[in-house]
Amino acid sequence: MKPFAYLRPDSLTHASQLTEEPSAIPIAGGTNLLDLMKLQVETPESLIDVNKLSLSEIGDEGEGLRIGALATNTATAAHPRVRSDYPVLARAILAGATQQLRNKATTAGNLCQRTRCYYFTNIDQPCNKREPGSGCGALDGIARLHAILGASSQCIATYPGDMAVAMAALGAEVEIMNAGGETTRVPLEDFHRLPGDTPEKDNILESGDIITGVILPAPVKGVQLYRKVRERSSYAFALCSVAAIVNMEEGRIGDIALAFGGLAHKPWRDKRVEEALKGTEPSLKGFDEAAEILLEDAQGYGENDFKIPLTRRTLKAVLCEATGMDT
């Protein structure tokens, strides 16, 4: 761990100004950042502790819900409105990490958690994300956790989180305040990026940007499920995961939203898959065809080839359950 300055501003504007310095990093629960600092993967010169800012509230916003950037994962998953109106979110959060970690983990920290790529976290290995231009250790190495969709020749890492996958299915928006004090909202789907030629950038945040909250739109009708697949039944990241909101109308699939985790550098949402399913009668054949669309451009890197059939099967399992299909 490199020596660093520790600052604890009590206003948002001040926090944002301090974070404008490129070598400054905000810290919330610290459950991801501190680990990476110990490994010297992250070497900030100053840590801007945002915990004094009043950003932990969860409350109604119109018909929707606003979740503060500092609300803990535990508080969010237990919130009565999340449980009743957005159960997919509660399920996704509870499928992640452990109780102890969720007690510390925050909304913003969870969105910004970094990849679990083994080469990213080992500074004796090449990694374009950690050190642009140094190469990608995973490409020739062990790519078990890695992406099958949207990867680039520079980086095949995945975004590892669960919470954001549910938020993507819900059509959430991320609220960000920049150094100039302006607040903007971006669809969660556009918050994380694909690696392309700049894998060092996980998301659209610029220096000085502070996440202030996540806004969920008005609740929608339908069954909400989150399915996470892993060899160890808890305390493990997803090999693949599916967040599904499916509304059945007279035996047919009505409105449907699907988002996928563990497959790409961001929570993956492909509207073509949803379109293909909408209006159809549930059938294994139809589900297969939907999976075909999803995985059209999927590419494995050896160790993670299995994610292609696994995703197809998991999608089928989720759709069977959501549509109440008897198999």
Partner: protein, 733 residues
Amino acid sequence: MSKTLEMNEPDTRNRLDDMAGRNVGAPMDRPDGPAKVAGAAPYAAEYVIDNVAEGVLVTAPFARGTITSIDERSITGMDGVIAVISDERLTARPAQGTANETPVQTPLSIAYFGQPFALVVAETFEQARNAAKALKFDYSADDPSEIPFDPEAVEAEENDATRQGDLDKAMADAAHSVDITYYTEGHASAAMEPHAAIAEWDGERLTVHASLQMPNYNITELADSLNLEEDNIRILSRYVGGGFGSKLGVSQETVAASIAAMKLGRPVRVVMSRQQVFQTVMRRSETKQRLRLAADKDGRLTGFGHEALVSNLPEEDFAEPVTQASAFLYPGKDRELLIEVARIHRMTAGSVRAPGEAVGMQTLEAAMDELAEKLELDPVELRLRNIPDEHPASGLPYSSRKMEEALKQGAEAFGWHSGPRKPRQKREGEWWIGTGMATAARIHNVGEAEARVTLNGDGTVLVETDMTDIGTGTYSILTQIAADMLGVEPAKVLVDLGDTNHPRGPGSGGSWGAASSGSSVFIACEAVRKAIAEKLGVEEADLELSGGTAKGGGQEKLLSELAGNEGIAKTGTFKPGDAQDDYAMASYGAFFSEVAVNRWTGEARVRRMLGAFGFGRVLNAKTARSQCIGGMTWCIGAALTESLLFDPVDGHVVNCDLAEYHVPVHRDVPHLDVLMIEERDPAASPIQAKGVGELGICGGAGAIANAIYNACGARLYEFPMTPDRIIAAMPED
């Protein structure tokens, strides 16, 4: 005065059964438990020592080559930096279990990625860690494309072989046979407490608090590494937060801390990071195993073949003894057992949790399941038909063996259906449900052990040995043995362990600690009893000790009175003898498991599991049960989740933390039932006890594999059986 007992013949006296006290065998709580849960039991790194400096190991970022120079000045100006220790005595690898000599000591000659070669010492841990990362050094690294990392890509050397009769012919003539190749992946010990040491040097004597399993060997290894006399060294390992093999031999941090303390003249603490523990201590070798089983029409084995390919670094003697139980468990006069070692440049391979049987039994038992299927025979019945009368190779008789009882009682307790078996018979929603079973077997070892037992003038008893309690329950069982032998309450017994100033114990490893160390305490107690008897003027055999009093020859006296001011102190020495050569000795058992496999995702979850075990006298029903449960938990890991992943380019361990190396978590471990079968094995030890620590690991992963097949019809030949492998092997609906 002391007493020595060499185990030259079975001890059928069963003396512990004649004692008035009934502590041995009882589920007594651990005397060390309250201190442990209250955080009052210090582990190696936790001793508060004045003026201690902190050391962090510097490791090589390449697989093979030489460190040509270390630029100490690159960090001298940094805050808090005290020194860079580069010394030819630094050890490059850990010592293998019971090595009793220094491990490879050429720190600058790098043989694996992550090998430590220097130590940076600073005032605080953070400063040391930062400086260790900043230290500059030059090196010449070999071209990785010319370094072997893949065990199958090199020519392997023969390590151990037994050949008898003509196995090929037996296979050709067999009514039924199987010939299957399995792969198992590497394992980490993954003990909770990382490797750590604090060394203090007073100019003459070195005192080291370290997390070690076998101080009795470690002191010799450390002395040899440092060129010091053993008399000038004291190792303390009072509490060890798990070892599972990785702390059998002295490892790099202990030697480095010692050298630094001696050079700097102040105490130095070295704690490995979790990543360093994973990358620099010990791995269990991955294995490739071929099983050949030939059977007659009734399922009796006529031929038996078990060949294994394992790996290690050059110069390491250790080869995962995969065929250890195969040597004695089942019959078959035509036999071939073989272990080959591939020399590759992954980190050191060594003992990890039941070396040999842990990976050898699971494959054997999976192969037995396929044989049972071919025979259309109940798998339990197949095992029962294959309990040999004598050791199939040496012809030695078996000592006590509860295999049949374990199979039958286990099956009954589990509710095993003994009819013909077919896969894919039961589904609950998305989950296929199936059952599977396996035999358990683990060789029984003992080692020389010494302990001193003192009956004090106040009627309390002190037991001293450098034996360790690595979470296994040594404090408990030695308390119980001394309490019953000397007729005092357990609360009056103090057991003082893990200090090399005490008589030499056997150390904890290979499940030999309880039987060996327990015997030394038993023998010392016999000597104390003899002294008491003499004072009373009766034969020792006529002495009755209970409730703190001695009765005999019509007299009754308080033990405290008999002990007098100076007390009665006796040393007991247990030595392995002819009995160990005259019998084939092992602990036995059987596993039964019920597993659910998700038809879509291939996730496998153990729903319940039962182990029935016979391991001689049960010394403490609670700690023994805990050992069995721990073993069965490792079975779940070996079957479903655990695998060390190695980078193909430079051989480093990639999943080097507990987030990515998946030991089972609570949610993976259902209720585990343990059935302990009453047994006394007179040949095993004077206390009729055998090893239990590792038995629960030996075969259970096979029971889970067999249940996966029974559930969903997927036969897998690779452990662990992760969802990706299961969906690839599962028949389509």
